[in-house]
Amino acid sequence: MILRFSKTHDASETVATTPSPYAPALPILAKQVDTARAQMEEAIVALSERFAQIVQRIDSTLTASQSSKQDGDLAAILSTGKADLVAVIGALKEIHEARNTLADEIRGLAEHTEDLKRMAADVEMIAFQTNMLSLNAAIEAAHAGDAGKGFAVVAHEVRSLSRASRETGKRIAETVNSITHTLTSIARTNESVAVRETQAVRDSESRIHEVLDRFTNISGQLANSAEELRADSALIQGEIGQSLVHLQFQDRVGQILGHVSSTLQELPPLMERTATEACAAQFLETMARTYTTSEQHRNHQAAADVSPAPSQAVTFF
């Protein structure tokens, strides 16, 4: 801002005089003020840019964390995982039930072998009685003499058959014994496997529940810490926003210093002339007219300097 005070004066009002020996100090002072102003502006701009970047970064982080809906995804994955694992436990239990049914059937089969044993004994008994019968028939055939010879042959064959039947009965009993032994062994093995299986299913179930509980806890903690992070970020963003409001002082101070610098630069040519009172008054009036802040006006009127509070009111036209 250049004030051009010299243009506002009529040449007839001023008289050329010898330059003031202090006059050269004024442009130097003006330069010092300009340097201070430039340095302050540079620093504040750099600072506000940094702040703006921080705010932007926090903002994009917040936006990303909100839009990704990670918490919701995690909860959904956990819920699906829970359902899948419960289904696995269900399948294991079904297999276990099937094994129990099999064990019952094997036990039922073992019971049938008792009947088979009895039937084998019956066969032996029948064979014994048939043998007795064939002996009697042979005796009766001998009593009949030559007429009984053919009958004696039949009795002999019946006796052979009864012996064979007895052998068959014995083999049946032996086989049934062997089957019973095998079935008992299968049943015993099955029972011990079933016990181990029951324990394994129970262990798996409790471990799965433990893992799920742990995941639920961790996901809860994650959600909480994400929420805390979001709250903290919003707080920091607000604080930085407030700091940026305070940095606006640079604009006001810059304008005041700019005005001081322009005025200082205008003074040396004026000091080379002898000014009239009217001319000096006009200088002050022009200076006051070019103020841009309320502080400058108050200082001009020697009023107490008070920093302006942030403006809350808007004047609508």
Partner: protein
């Protein structure tokens, strides 16, 4: 944030970078697109015929001041009806009267609270 509409565009004219930053952060945070100009002349060059929904301008700026810029905006048929808010350290009634006469719709004195500015913007921004 998902954007379902085209963001409204706001031109900020101020020679102070810190003021442009504060206003820019507040406006971008509220979902506006922001274009910046460092003085009246620079800002006029940004008025290329594309839609600007609102202009926020400083008054005291080098090269071209805010009142001259405001007059130039109002003389441009494409931006004649674009609302302009003056954002300045000036609080004198005579300056405000100049702004009003040149066609400004509102006057906010610096330092300003971003929320105050946003309220004025949302009230004046054209649909």
């Amino acid at each position: 944030m998902e954007i379902w509409f085209v963001a409204k565009k706001i031109l900020i004219v101020d020679d102070s970078a810190s003021v442009r930053q504060v206003a820019g952060i507040a406006l971008r945070g509220a979902g506006y697109e922001v274009v910046e100009g460092v003085n009246g002349q620079d800002a006029l060059a940004k008025l290329d015929g594309s839609k600007i929904h609102l202009i926020i301008s400083d008054v005291n700026m080098p090269v071209m001041d805010g009142i001259s810029f405001l007059k130039a905006v109002k003389a441009n048929p494409a931006y004649k009806f674009t609302p302009v808010i003056m954002l300045t350290t000036e609080s004198g009634e005579d300056k405000k009267a100049q702004g009003r006469a040149a066609g400004a719709r509102a006057w906010i004195v610096k330092p300003f609270i971003p929320q105050t500015m946003l309220e004025a913007v949302s009230k004046l921004v054209l649909a």
